[in-house]
Symmetry: C2
């Protein structure tokens, strides 16, 4: 910038004025400065500008579990879009199941003076927050709740979504519905299981022995399913897309009575499967943009009490969830 000033024959301050489009510079001077800028290929150093101004860096950090999964990818896209609308840049990092790595990311983002943090790694506990989050950096938790509800959070309507699935199946005549969930360490696995139990209880449906959480190994799934079919189960709800895919693989290869299936979380090719899979679709991008909104509101009003936003799910009925064999249920229209 000194060079530009020298070339333009003005003071550094005047160059600064031009660069920042401040009023009160003679058009002719502006012209001269801009020529010098172009000639020297000058670009303002945003970091120095932020430092002197003491303003925010206009950036936010996003800590994820794994950038590559479809849910996280859609979520990230939602975050990035909304952040960009506000003129903010996005820093991203994956924890890959490692709490220490998640902690380092939080610290690195904080050291760069991001304006806020969005934290979504679902395998990592709250220690990421308590141990690494400086008290003056606002954060929003995504897809997992804050243990003491002292932090803003955005969640899917897990309970409601599972209830949609259960009610859908019950209305079609299923009286014995099972729940297959992913690893119990995922908060969403447990939350959706609880939603399943509640929805079944509400309908007076049995759940004894019909709920299975854990690692999605073929063996465990085979055992669970064979137990369920022996017990007269006619429909299964899967608790996330990993569970859905695992069950689909199993059903693909086994023989036996047909099982209706509703999967939590949308699959990209759900409508090309045979049969097309009925799903409870989450609004991943909506979760992301809601989190950004929450963050900006907190930046504007730091004294706000912690809030919790629940994003609705949507039941997408396809053909994997027909009435049970021999049911005299509703007319035969299962397409969307």
């Amino acid at each position: 910038m000194v060079d530009v000033a020298r070339t333009a024959g003005t003071s550094q301050k005047t160059v600064s004025r031009v660069v920042n489009a401040e009023p009160g510079v003679r058009p002719e001077t502006v012209e001269r400065v801009q020529r010098a800028i172009a000639e020297l290929g000058f670009r303002r150093h945003d970091g120095a500008s932020h430092l002197r101004r003491g303003t925010s860096t206009a950036s936010i950090g996003l800590v994820l579990e794994d950038l590559a999964g479809p849910f996280y990818a859609a979520l990230t896209a939602g975050v990035e879009r909304r952040a960009r609308e506000h003129g903010y840049l996005l820093l991203t990092g994956s924890a890959d199941g490692d709490a220490e790595r998640a902690g380092r990311l939080v610290q690195a983002f904080a050291a760069r003076r991001v304006d806020g943090l969005l934290i979504a790694p679902n395998l990592v506990g709250d220690e990421v927050l308590t141990a690494n989050l400086p008290p003056d950096v606002p954060a929003v938790l995504l897809d997992r709740p804050s243990a003491d509800h002292g932090t803003d959070e955005v969640l899917s309507d897990n309970t409601g979504g599972i209830a949609q699935a259960v009610h859908h199946l019950a209305e079609r005549g299923h009286r014995s519905i099972a729940y297959l969930g992913d690893d119990e360490r995922f908060w969403t696995s447990r939350q959706r299981r609880d939603g399943f139990l509640a929805a079944c209880a509400e309908r007076g449906l049995p759940t004894d022995g019909l709920v299975s959480l854990g690692a999605l190994t073929p063996e465990r799934i085979a055992a669970a399913v064979s137990g369920w079919t022996a017990a007269g189960v006619t429909a299964v709800v899967t608790g996330n897309n990993r569970a859905s895919v695992a069950l689909l693989h199993h059903l693909h290869e086994r023989t036996g009575p047909r099982l209706a299936h509703v999967g939590f979380d949308e699959l990209d090719l759900a409508d090309l499967l045979d049969p097309p899979l009925t799903t409870v679709a989450q609004d991943a991008a909506g979760i992301g943009s809601a989190a950004v909104d929450l963050l900006f509101e907190r930046l504007a009003t730091p004294t706000l009490p912690p809030r919790s936003v629940v994003v609705a799910t949507r039941l997408v009925v396809r053909r994997s969830s027909p009435p049970p064999d021999g049911a005299s249920a509703p007319p035969d229209r299962f397409d969307r």
Copy 2:
């Protein structure tokens, strides 16, 4: 930091030494400073540190077309992982098909003084580079070539991958193979078409009227397919996953002679389709990490001539590509 120094009763410089773990500070002093740091909740301002040091910001910027697609998501994950291994942070942004937005992202990243840029928006032309990229910011193009080969680039082996598909089908006895590609504006669409033509020529297979590029509307696809089947086509190669999905939708609903199908680009649920889809899998994460490697090599040795890295594809044979009806081709083993 001044506050820490005051509290610890030392000079600011000593605090700096402690923060940066520089040698030559008495353990006892270190202790005292660290207590003050903890007490005041001090965190070093990385931006100020970089400014004074004149060092890099240890960050790279990634400009994508759309963060949410599976290919870009996997690519981003590859980039982020490799960047993190080097202690670098990643800034991401989506262009969403808008060249101007891509340009603004490039400028914003450059103004933040990222050490380098990774540029992948496949709908945007080279104007993003020429108009917005400062000459002193190294960049690597991903999944599209540099027009004048003046920039480092990482590409999938599009030609080889398509050849794998064609040879695979030809070896199973197909003599009339068609190519369905996405919009011609995508460089990859054209590149893969050219690869298709070359592979067919090499095998002596006809291609006249068997190649169709354009928007993936149901109408266009229906017209192309019906023309092809009338002309005796027994197999179709699709040029990207959007084309694959579009063709799958079409085949799903139409009746008519069976068509073998090989799709370029892996689909998440390819093996759960009916029939499971044979694909040419791209190594998206590998492309991402290769690009980061290229960038770091250029940062280390700026005088390197521009390089082009081609990442291999892998043919994943499933059941959508059997020999044509009535062929006396190879034994009937189509599983992976």
